[in-house]
Every structure is written in C-alpha cells, then in structure tokens.
C-alpha cells in the first residue's frame, strides 16, 4: 500500500502505452468489466484485447492510451469521435457496421446458455414457455434473443437487459431469471472463477470479433491495426496472449470469416490486401 500504488491507481484509466515520443496519442475505449477480453486488476488494464492492443501498438509504433467507459457508452463515444478506437471483445454486426469500421476479425465466438448449477432445467425449459432470460443490454446476445425468441409467436419468453454480465448472472443466481445467454469466453470465465453456474447448451454463432474505428477511418488507423493484427498472429504473440487469459481456447485462423455487410472488408482492405 505504498504511495506509488496509490499514484498508479490515480492514473488508471489514463495509462499510456506504446513508444514515448511526440507523436499523436490515440484514445482506445475499453469496457474494463469484460474478462477475459478487458478488465482492471490492481489498477492495471488486463485482458486479451488489452495485451493484444499493446502488442499491436508496439509493432506499429502507435501511442495508445486506454480509457474505460461503461459498455452502453462505448459505441456512441466512438461514433462521435470521443475515442479513436474500440478495444474489447467486440462482435461484428450489421448494425454496428453502419456506424463504425471494423478491423479484420481476430476471433469467433459462440453463445452459451448458462443456468444456476443447482437448476434442474435443460436448454428447452429455459428458452421457451414462460422462461425469463437475462443478457447484457445492447449486446449481440440480447439482440439475438429478442429477434429469435421474444418476437416469435408462441415461444413466450421474457428478456431482461443488464449493464454487464456479472449482474445478469447474479440476478439469475437469486432466482429472478432462468438463464443467461453470453459468449463462450465470458461463460468459461464465470465457471473458472468458481461461480455456481453451468452451461446447458451452445448457440452456434461463429460470431466474428474485431477492433473498431470511427466510420470512414478519419484517423487512418485501420491499416496499422490490420497490419499489426496479422503481425502478432504470425509471430505467435497472439496465441501466447490468448492462452495467458484463456488456457483452453483454440486459436482461430486470422482473419476469421469476414461478413460481406462490413464496408471495411471490401477489397482492398487497408493494411491487409497490400
């Protein structure tokens, strides 16, 4: 509990990384309550996306500063140019592709159906017929449940939105919801942290994840990001980072499938096609 620690704690949220020079510093928005992708432990930003961004910054000689914001604020903040890029486990979706530009995707995710460990229910019980399901508001899982279950005649489920998955799971454990639908990484994180939850089913999504910049890439960051992603993938640094946080995760080939609704995946892709 030294003064130095206190000083570090004070600047957490404004920690600067990358090469120290007079060059421009880019502000990377993160939601630091999203392990294993981005979180804060003892005042330091950690996670796959954070470490990978640090490696990319070093590889591409960028100055990047992380700024933590709650999840619902992140995409609006990027769309408005309050931050320069978004570094988290961000799913590539058509709606988001309208307002931001994605880097080449570096991950693919499925969704898992979590129930309380002592719940006797199976995946049909918790996704149908009067069940209540929790998900993070604004997340792809929320949108998927809304579109495929809530809005479908005869399914009859209630969907509850939460600010983050920790509270969604907490609410499920108190018995107010029957299940929580979250990404594979997050689900495994809950289990490895010893939360009394179990997976009763997987929704195969092959959902690509990527970094994002402002629409039209006004800061001309995409080429550096794409080049950096490929470089850290090829050097093996990416695999090392992923396995530091998720030892069992299987590494996908980068880039993973690139959906054609994303403008920034049209040839030539900056920093990748050349």
């Amino acid at each position: 509990m030294t003064f130095r620690h206190l000083a570090i704690a004070l600047v957490a949220g404004h920690a600067s990384i990358g090469s120290a020079s007079a060059q421009e510093t880019y502000v990377a928005g993160v939601e630091a309550s999203f392990p294993p992708w981005a979180y804060v432990e003892e005042g330091e930003f950690k996670g796959i996306a954070i470490d990978a961004m640090r490696a990319i910054a070093e590889d591409q000689n960028l100055d990047v500063e992380f700024r933590d914001m709650p999840w619902p604020s992140l995409i609006p903040a990027l769309a408005q140019g309050r931050i320069d890029l978004l570094v988290t486990g961000l799913n590539v979706t058509p709606e988001r592709a309208e307002v931001l530009d994605f880097s080449i995707p570096w991950w693919e995710n499925d969704d898992e159906i979590l129930v309380a460990a002592d719940s006797g229910k199976n995946m049909i019980d918790v996704l149908c017929c009067g069940a209540t399901i929790g998900a993070q508001g604004g997340a792809t899982q929320y949108a998927w449940i809304e579109e495929n279950l809530v809005n479908r005649e005869g399914v009859d489920v209630t969907l509850r939105g939460y600010e983050d998955y920790v509270v969604a799971v907490e609410d499920m454990l108190t018995g107010r919801t029957d299940a929580v639908v979250t990404s594979t990484d997050t689900a495994e994180e809950f289990i490895s942290n010893g939360r009394p939850v179990r997976i009763v089913g997987t929704i195969q999504q092959n959902q690509p994840q990527a970094l994002a910049v402002q629409k039209g890439d006004p800061r001309e960051l995409l080429a550096s990001l794409n080049r950096g992603i490929v470089n850290i993938y090829e050097s093996g640094a990416w695999e090392e980072i992923v396995h530091t946080y998720s030892p069992q995760a299987s590494i996908r080939q980068i880039p993973t499938a690139m959906p054609d609704f994303v403008d920034s995946y049209e040839e030539p892709i900056p920093g990748y096609s050349d």
Partner: protein, 223 residues
Amino acid sequence: MIFEIIINHIPYLLGGLWVAIQLLACVLVIGFVFGLLLALAEVYGHWSLRWSGIAFERVFRGIPELVLILMCFYGVGNWFPIDPFPAAVLALGLRSTAYQSQIFRGVIQAVPTGQVAAARAIGMSGVQAVCHVVLPQALRQVPGPWSNEFSSELKATSLAYVIGVVELTRQGKYIISSTQGNILIVFAVVALLYFVVNWLGNRVIYRAERALEIPGLERGEGD
C-alpha cells in the same frame, strides 16, 4: 479469499475515493461561487437578472443529475470535445449552483430588511449594506443547510462513472468484474468509504456551524 482481494485493492479504492473527493471539491466550489452570485442576483438584481436567475435555478434543479452528466459529456461534446472529468464537474457544478443559490437566497432573506434600511440611513450604499451588514450575518447561517448539499453532491459523484470517470464506484466494479461476482461485499466496502467521508465532512461542517454562530442566535443546546 475475497477479503484478501479487497485488501490488495484498498489502494485503488482509496485512489477512486480521492478522484471522487476532487470531483466533489470542484463541484462545491463552483456551486458556492456561482450559487452566491445567483442568489444576490435573485434578491437584489434588476428584474431581468432576477428572472434569468430563477429560470436557471428551476431548470437545473429540475433535471436528474445523471441526465445532466450525459448531456454535458455527449451533448456539449458534440460542439467541443470535453473530457469525462470536466464534463462531470460541469454537470454537477451547474446542479450545485442551482441548489446552493437557494441556500444563499434563504439566508440572505432571513436577515431582516430593516437592517438594510438602517444601514442606508447611516449613509451606507446598497453594496456596502449588503457586504457589511447582510452577508456577514447571512453566510454564518449557511453551514447547516450546506451540510445537506455536501452529502448529496458526494453521493452524486458516483454517477460520473457512466461517462468514464474512474472514481470509487467504478473501482469497486473493477473488483466485481475481475472476480465475476462478490457484488454485495465489494459494494459494502465502497458504501463504507462513502459513509466515512460523509460522516467526517459533516462533522467538520457542524463544527464550523458552531464556531460561526451569531451570538444571541445560538442553536440552544441542552435547554
């Protein structure tokens, strides 16, 4: 195990508390200065000043703090970029100005108007009467009602995390998300820290209240 984690995180929680206290200090100073000016304008100003003061105060007392914070960060940020901390200071400062103006208006109006008339009768100007007769008495009545404002603004600083100010509440959330749980115990520690600051702050204010009491108008203890 969670206790060990919390103990390791105490410096960061205290760091978050320090950010909250800085935010609180900025907000209260802004509120004090502009609240006093607004109150003087409302009581003694030309009718146009009076009405704009009242309009300002009605508007900013009538909007939830959270909405104000989001408006300052995203709304104002549309025209000129503003960082999270100054945005929070601006939003809560406007609100505190509106509330403190009502505290000051109350204490100024509590000074009998006859005193101003008497001051004018012995040759003081209007400004002199306010500065030498009204304010010295009025400001000494401020600490009581002001302790409410202190407490409510301290608690309002916790809202600033929504725009990315890493204060105490956000530091607490970091522990919750990195351990994927422990909501009750972590927020209990956070609550305790807020409580202690609130309690200490109020003790200081009550002490000031007693020290500043106007002889003959004491709050009468034990009688």
